[in-house]
Symmetry: C2
Subunit: 346 residues, 2 copies
Amino acid sequence: MTEAMQQITLAARPVGAPKDSDFALLDAPLPTPKDGEVLVRVHYMSLDPYMRGRMDDAKSYAAPVPIGGVMEAGGVGEVIASKSDAFKVGDMTFGMFGWATHGCLPAKEMRKLDARLPVTTALGVLGMPGFTGWYGLMELGRPKEGETLVVAAATGPVGSMVGQMAKARGLRTIAIAGGADKCKLATEKFGFDAAIDHRAHDDASSLRRALAEVAPKGIDIYFENVGGKVFEAVLPLMNTFGRIPVCGMIAGYNAGALGGNEQSTVPDRLPMLWRSILVKQMSINGFIISNHFDLYPAFLNEVAPLVATGKIEVLEDIAEGLENAPRAFMGLLEGRNVGKQIVKLI
Amino acid sequence: MTEAMQQITLAARPVGAPKDSDFALLDAPLPTPKDGEVLVRVHYMSLDPYMRGRMDDAKSYAAPVPIGGVMEAGGVGEVIASKSDAFKVGDMTFGMFGWATHGCLPAKEMRKLDARLPVTTALGVLGMPGFTGWYGLMELGRPKEGETLVVAAATGPVGSMVGQMAKARGLRTIAIAGGADKCKLATEKFGFDAAIDHRAHDDASSLRRALAEVAPKGIDIYFENVGGKVFEAVLPLMNTFGRIPVCGMIAGYNAGALGGNEQSTVPDRLPMLWRSILVKQMSINGFIISNHFDLYPAFLNEVAPLVATGKIEVLEDIAEGLENAPRAFMGLLEGRNVGKQIVKLI
């Protein structure tokens, strides 16, 4: 084949927030699938906060993208050539195709999509983010009826899954989101009982007072996906036997290797946390969702029907064109997206 | 009865480390048991770090001792009068008799002792401290053969239980203790594979280097019972999927309500911890052993025979006389005791 593909590579390691010059848009020859491989034209690619971590050359839970390497991403697309019995031309599939218009992967690294659902759901509500929310809540949060849950980035694909699943189990659900519009979405679209605009609060103390008002019985589960100010606001409100699943910290991603955090300037917080863990008998569990894919089928079994019937609401923010992926990604890290950030490629 | 008893009350709330004038030794009339109650002459009372917390008027997991109130403690002794069918005069029993030569409690709040074992074991290795070590290790530490465990205060009744149970399950066990003599006890009496004298290390970095040498495969379980410098030394050495049961922090007890910690003066440690929890997918669980007494019979079933046959070693440090309890307690908080601190009362 002589058709070309386009891809975005990491041109430089960002210092703090990524900028245009950290990315390069390049043409590349379209690969030819080898035995067992499948060539896919990507229709939609996913943008997720974890990608910021891959841009740093720091020890983390996954290897960094090398300079000049294609940025990593999941995508959904259509098979255009197949050297595998598992896929035929025209099949719709999910795979880690990267920031690219096309991808060529072994068939066993791809997953055929359920044709009854919109393909983009495989990137958000039924993909890694939705599964992250479901796993963290159900396995580590252990929700019980009548309890109170707080989650930040509540209109995103992780937070909205957490909130909706918890609400369905009879918990009081409190959203933290950036801006009045997102707060409105949180309560009206995703059914949160209350929503707090973190931008309306300059510091953790102010945010804590607002939380205390809407969580009069304290907080039993704080689903941690942002870190920083929200965590500091939440900690003193946690109830005995509170659970904190920790799945990611978007607030720290731009701050470099060790996740520095502009909010944490008071030296006595670590012992305060440590004492809280003891006195409140809390359970704090970090998890990386890629180590739990054994439960992905159980997740799909439970949640796909809820999405199909509209019992789980979906919100997507779709940018157009691979060339706009870097800007969409920068916006994601700043919370400018509304819902799951996706890039439409064709 | 006109016989008198002696008791020690809280005369003043300590500021930092307790001193003599924070305690008062008083005579009191011997109580007469009411229906269902039992009067006990206490032979041995227990001194434990948690008692320091009870001396502060701060929100914690148990109410503070009021000024003028009798200091709280478990004790073992002999029934000298009984208005309960459950106990007869001469029975040996455990109860929360306080810092006192005698105690009068409802029979249902006491536990008859196994006559085949020395009575003091009910205060240490088979009492609350031993149970704390067993529960935290087995339920929250989830030890697996070949893993590496670190515990501080390793010659104390919690740490020595943790180390011996872990060693029996095929873990590499590393003791942290204060002074060369305790290090020798840790390896020779309790079978730890290595022991590190924390007093030989001025800061967490130095302690960390020493730990790294004896834990070449990293640390899978850190049983947290002291806090402070040890935790900071351990954290960067924790392996992926590491577990940290948190049962108490003697290092912080003297520092006041919120557990201030003289070692934590660097502002970026909280985000570092938070990021470690995520990246290493750690599980951190605080627990207060009094909420888990449903498992106490299982603990006794497993561990009492091991103590009886000498498979679990016991080390006790016995002070003489109620009047010496305050000094023994101050010594305990400074680590001057060697083994489980007990006070002999008759």
